[in-house]
Symmetry: D2
Subunit: 146 residues, 4 copies
Amino acid sequence: MRHDPQRRAPGHYPFHFTFDPRFGDLDVNAHLNNVAYARFFEEGRVRLHASLGGLDMPGFRPIVANLTVDYLAEGRWPDPLTVGVGIARFGNSSYVVGLALFQKDACIALCDTVIVNRAVEGPGGAALPKSLRDALEGLRLDGSAT
Amino acid sequence: MRHDPQRRAPGHYPFHFTFDPRFGDLDVNAHLNNVAYARFFEEGRVRLHASLGGLDMPGFRPIVANLTVDYLAEGRWPDPLTVGVGIARFGNSSYVVGLALFQKDACIALCDTVIVNRAVEGPGGAALPKSLRDALEGLRLDGSAT
Amino acid sequence: MRHDPQRRAPGHYPFHFTFDPRFGDLDVNAHLNNVAYARFFEEGRVRLHASLGGLDMPGFRPIVANLTVDYLAEGRWPDPLTVGVGIARFGNSSYVVGLALFQKDACIALCDTVIVNRAVEGPGGAALPKSLRDALEGLRLDGSAT
Amino acid sequence: MRHDPQRRAPGHYPFHFTFDPRFGDLDVNAHLNNVAYARFFEEGRVRLHASLGGLDMPGFRPIVANLTVDYLAEGRWPDPLTVGVGIARFGNSSYVVGLALFQKDACIALCDTVIVNRAVEGPGGAALPKSLRDALEGLRLDGSAT
């Protein structure tokens, strides 16, 4: 991710959420802790899902299968954070949420989160419901249009 | 990581730390939250570093540059967790900590954490101090021996 | 609480749970954060409840109504913590869990947590089920026996 | 606190901070966890201190000596939270921060946090610096004026 300049541009992401870091996100080095970044990206992903009215639907049980974070710069308290969110890729039974974290106009981290549909047991997952796929299609990262 | 069976074997890791999950690590699904896994891996990495007497040394300022987690199974409370830790790879100015999380004899997640030496500013990082490299050499994942 | 020497004695508590602090519990002052103490006390309370087989029973919906913590000393990482837990008092529809936190033989904090039964709506709460009251009776703080 | 209607009124507090709960603040009951409330109150207290330019001053080392929280209602995600903050009382070497948490116009919790000056060792603490006392005087809860 870190070598793709598009991923560091706020406009690349169709969904944004701005929020405040907490003093409790700081670690002994007085920077926003790297695990706190994972919390911020979780919030971005869940807020995107909530913007669709939530993901409670028959045939869909989402599980986080992979989380990858590139840390680009140290985050600080108390300046607000903005997370940009969109859908980076689709598989048959999964999709990848692409995210970026911004503070004071700088991109301080990138994240890909792989979501797999575990509505049925066993390897591979279940196919994504068409209604979900349709809803998420409108939230693709702005890559294909470039 | 997830396709390498070695990475799921406790014996692959030279350092182990066993600890208890907390009720507060559970999320609304009553499973250990995926961000909590990142916290568990942080603990494993820091405990390994502490086992070397800490990483306070001239010419070394470690920064987490990348975190990659493969989630393999849902974790539960209150069964103890064991994290296995070792050094997966070395670069000139960086190294990769390889980790695995176990609960009730199952490997429930894998993690690679890239640590870069930011003792000097600018891209690329500073070379790892030789004393650090020597200490970490003894903690390599048991891959090269196979 | 802080002026009662009994409350600082491990033997005062019928239930104990020992666990490890996490690096992530440290704050910018490199001490265990005061909110982390609240997390530790939650764990002690929940582990006591779990020791009774859990609190899922008809007519009981426990809600935390009050939390009071006296901070006595700064906690450190990575020395293990022991939380002592017992029942301090009973009301008709509530009870008070009394707790203490120990590290390296020192009592570093005390806590009272008021649990109210909200199985019915409205002020005051519902009476505690007799089976719960009976189970908790055996876990009273060792005060009345002195 | 819970029996004082003044404490539940937003206008009682001279300082306010509005922020968003996080999905990760929810517990297995899908309510904002009671320990998360302690985190929210920490944020309110620290933001009030930051509004004064921070508390780094000679002769002052603040330690949280007591935290008392009255839980009044269950909090939800994702509606914003507002914390009201002020100074409830002064001692010679300590002061009490009084706080309230609001969501959707309801007061869902109250908190008193006792801060003691540990600039010198030993029981009792050190006297509050006059400059701190003066700054905090302007942030008293609106009780004395009634």
